[in-house]
């Protein structure tokens, strides 16, 4: 992680493009928390990259003064993996929605987790497809009636935390867009964690599925007694009806790019002074 002596102010982390989200959209809270985290961590904009897919949440990179990559729907993780692998000095984020992460892009999540790519993945979960105007998503509750489901849905919602825990992610947390201070801390911990950090952020879509009241009712702070190194306990908490906010799980195995360096050595590519210098100059 490359840091500066003095932090860049939050307002300077904002790009000159104003977010085009609906007033009241939870994603504003997520953006502000992320900007605050970037500033608090004294990160350098020249060493931060944010990859996204498509969705309201996918517009995110345009609003941050950092390298931004707005790709195609569901493919933020492959892009982020390529970016981090090609230049491990970058602090890399992937961001997107619940459709992007768990539906079309759901096949990438287990592999980013087991590879332990050093990427912080912030999923803004509004339990709906926002950008395409309100179709049910893989986290929508059963019985949701929308134009795309006029008789109500029958498919059970996924449990992203339980899912990602079982994929073996090395950092698993949940936040809420209405609790910016806590969310900022979660994002900071996610970035500091060396490896794949998954953060599900409950982020309501006021326009197509206003879940503010519901999220307030169903969320609760992580029990203080919870030990994040205890994966069984984390799984237990993930399966409860109450949606706990905080860090479920963290372990410290080496990330993908460190393994790649090890592999290069094994293959016979020894770090020469020249190469070290080259790295230093980059």
């Amino acid at each position: 992680m490359i840091t500066l002596a003095e932090p860049i102010k939050v307002k300077d982390w904002k790009s000159d493009v104003k977010p085009i989200w609906c007033p009241g959209c939870g994603d504003y809270g997520v953006l502000n928390s992320l900007l605050k985290a970037l500033s608090d961590l004294k990160l350098d904009p020249d060493h931060v990259a944010i990859a996204s897919g498509i969705g309201c949440s996918g517009r995110f990179p345009a609003f941050v003064n950092a390298y931004g990559f707005h790709g195609v729907h569901g493919r933020a993780l492959p892009l982020a993996t390529g970016i981090k692998t090609a230049n491990p000095e970058l602090t890399v984020f992937a961001v997107g929605g619940d459709g992007d992460a768990f539906s079309i892009g759901g096949g990438h999540l287990p592999h980013a987790a087991r590879r332990n790519v050093d990427v912080t993945y912030v999923v803004m979960d509004n339990e709906i497809y926002g950008l395409t105007k309100g179709q049910p998503s893989p986290t929508s509750p059963i019985g949701m009636e929308r134009k795309a489901s006029p008789y109500g849905t029958y498919d059970a919602p996924l449990n992203p935390i339980a899912m990602v825990l079982s994929y073996g992610a090395s950092f698993v947390a949940r936040g809420f867009s209405s609790q910016p201070r806590e969310l900022t801390e979660l994002i900071k911990r996610g970035v500091q964690h060396q490896g794949f950090s998954f953060i599900q952020v409950m982020s309501p879509c006021v326009t197509f599925f206003d879940t503010y009241a519901y999220f307030k009712e169903i969320t609760a702070p992580m029990p203080e007694s919870h030990d994040p190194s205890d994966r069984m306990a984390a799984m237990q908490l993930a399966l409860e009806r109450t949606q706990y906010l905080g860090v479920f799980y963290e372990d410290n195995r080496p990330p993908h790019h460190v393994h790649m360096e090890e592999l290069q050595e094994k293959a016979g590519n020894h770090l020469t002074l020249e190469k070290l210098l080259e790295r230093f100059q980059r």
Partner: protein, 380 residues
């Protein structure tokens, strides 16, 4: 010095010689040997090869890696190209240098996984939404697998676009004896050396703001800048302005879409690559590409040995169609015979160009190669 080798090995060597530092792929016959050789060789030179979870991820990782400074390649076969489709569009829109190897096999769907075919000729050209041009090179021998891979890397840098290397099962799998001095190196230009040359990566717009997608004239290529080069850079697959912000402004949108086509279409002369073996007085022109061109060259030798006059044209740059070279070769002949392992896909392009000249095809889709004798039958 000579060695006993195959096209897959030559492609990997070409990629390493071109400075490839990142590879991602998903196993598929007949492209897997490239993946396996890359997994073995790339780490030795400090690069990274990844076996991805699927083809969508493989090509996505390559695009991400290019944007973070790597030289990247991926390899697959027809079914994998189907899954690459959307991200190929992303690379076209984001002007991302990328080399994609398609080792063709026969037929739609799983088809003949271990059977030779050349059925992806139009598919790679039109394989993503919107219909924008890509560059496609087709080697017809093992040494060409090497040199055209290097050339593919160079053209990808020059035009900032995906460049396909279209090969086939036969070329990649069958071992042959090759003279080492047949391998020809092709210089690969530096990153950022687009049409505006290196040294001006921090292109600015009229307000003095960094404009990474500023191109001028319309067929110019914006100099490539990547993440980590000390200037905040954005990238989007959406229609964008020169600062990479999403726009619907009709003149900007129109200019961008025309630019994506013009930067390739208007530089055909830089891309065009054929081997023309033209004989004065010949009435028949044989035309082929890839593995089929091998049999064609053999047939030409035989025919000439028997006193027949015949011309032959091997196309190495399939797309954009090398129209000038084809027109030159067509001059004076009565008929052109296009031989390919499909039902006449490239023949369509020749029909478009060959005015007043009979266009015939030799086509096979039974999993066997076109033989020299099949060529000899049509020479008149």
């Amino acid at each position: 010095m000579r060695e006993f080798t195959d096209g897959s090995t030559a492609i990997v060597r070409g990629a390493l010689a071109a400075g490839c530092t990142f590879f991602a792929g998903y196993p598929i016959t007949p492209a897997s040997p490239i993946l396996m050789t890359m997994m073995r060789e790339l780490p030795k030179v400090g690069g990274v090869a990844i076996q991805a979870e699927d083809e969508i991820s493989a090509v996505g990782m390559c695009i991400g890696a290019t944007m973070a400074g790597a030289r990247t390649m991926t390899a697959t076969s027809g079914p994998g190209i189907s899954l690459y489709s959307e991200n190929i569009g992303l690379a076209v829109m984001g002007e991302v240098p990328l080399v994609v190897v398609d080792v063709q096999r026969l037929g739609p769907a799983t088809g003949g996984a271990t059977t030779v075919g050349q059925g992806d000729v139009q598919f790679v050209r039109w394989g993503t939404a919107g219909g924008y041009p890509v560059i496609v090179l087709a080697p017809s021998s093992i040494p060409e697998c090497y040199s055209l891979t290097m050339r593919a890397f160079d053209l990808a840098e020059r035009f900032r676009c995906p460049v396909f290397l279209l090969t086939d099962k036969e070329l990649n799998y069958t071992m042959n004896t090759v003279e080492l001095d047949e391998y020809q190196d092709v210089p690969v230009r530096e990153r950022g050396a687009g049409s505006e040359g290196p040294g001006m990566p921090k292109t600015q717009d009229s307000m003095g703001l960094f404009a990474p997608y500023r191109y001028h004239p319309p067929d110019g290529v914006p100099p490539m800048v990547h993440f980590g080069q000390d200037v905040v850079l954005r990238f989007t697959g959406s229609t964008h302005d020169e600062r990479a912000f999403i726009t619907k402004h009709p003149p900007t949108v129109d200019a961008l879409n025309r630019h994506l086509a013009a930067k390739i279409e208007e530089h055909r002369d830089e891309i065009e690559l054929v081997t023309a073996d033209l004989e004065p007085g010949a009435r028949t022109l044989l035309l082929s590409y890839g593995v089929t061109a091998r049999a064609m060259r053999e047939a030409v030798q035989k025919a000439r040995g028997g006193g027949q006059k015949v011309s032959a044209l091997t196309i190495h740059s399939l797309w954009p169609t090398p129209e000038t070279a084809i027109e030159t070769a067509l001059d004076g002949v009565e008929r052109v015979v296009v031989a390919e392992l499909n039902l006449g896909q490239y023949r369509r392009e020749i029909e478009r160009i060959a005015h007043g000249c009979e266009v015939l095809g030799i086509n096979r889709v039974d999993g066997e190669l076109i033989s020299p004798d099949q060529f000899l039958e049509v020479i008149r």
